[in-house]
Amino acid sequence: MELMVRKEENAVIVSVIGWMDAVAAPQFDKRLETLMEEGETRIIIDFKDLEYISSAGLQTILAAAKKMEEVNGEIVLLHLKDAVKEVFEISGFDMIFRVFDDQDAALA
């Protein structure tokens, strides 16, 4: 798994690339934690190039989202597709997070 972080005017976009299993999820967790410690309150997670995610990745996102709510921040999901989208739907996460297919809309 690779992570690419890009700061925009009113949000930071974290692109997750490859395969996020229970082995890779702690790296993602650490990155989100660092961004929150740096004061980011709006994180957009871009799944365009992610092929696979398991419960470990979802738990990381949920834990980060809980912390974000405490500071009136938000985690937003972008470009869910294929197997990754199915996992979000099965878990109900697509209903508790805001999900976008368009980056400009996510940034607005």
Partner: protein, 151 residues
């Protein structure tokens, strides 16, 4: 039949899933179904790696075999503490972020992905049997091996 037995540690997760991946591909199982099976297998193996042996170490074995023309069985076998995933409750999938519990999703994924699940405790072993109805590949494209994805 495929049989692979390794130490129950997350460091071996990729070896398990890659072996099962290649076994499934050899039977022309579709890419979509392979992803579903990998998810169920990972969740089952992670449970064993994290909780089965507590302070000690132990092995976990994965066996894959076709039981008839269109159904195959994946068994996850360990000698850790008794643990029946079938008894765990389904998480509240409608709870908001603040109320949503962290954890419990793995077993939910196993239930959703497998056609049937059975658990047995026999001779000191946990045997989790996941049955899948095979969906053949309809030529929708080659499967991308996970080790080609940068992980």
């Amino acid at each position: 039949m495929l049989s692979i037995k390794l130490k129950a540690t997350l460091a071996n997760l990729e070896e398990f899933t890659n072996s099962v991946f290649e076994w499934l591909r050899s039977y022309d199982v579709s890419q979509k179904q392979i992803m579903s099976i990998e998810l169920a297998l990972e969740e089952a193996l992670v449970n064993v790696c994290l909780y089965a042996y507590q302070e000690r170490t132990g092995d976990v074995e994965v066996r894959c075999l076709f039981v008839d023309d269109d159904r195959f069985l994946i068994e996850i076998i360990d000698s850790g503490i008794p643990f029946d995933v079938c008894t765990l409750p389904t998480p509240d999938l409608k709870a908001c972020i603040a109320e949503r519990k962290i954890g419990g999703l793995g077993v939910h994924f196993i239930r959703k992905m497998a056609t049937s699940i059975e658990y047995h405790r026999k001779d000191g072993f946990n045997i989790l049997s996941l049955t899948f109805k095979a969906v053949p590949d309809r030529g929708t494209g080659m499967v991308t091996l996970r080790h080609n994805t940068g992980n």
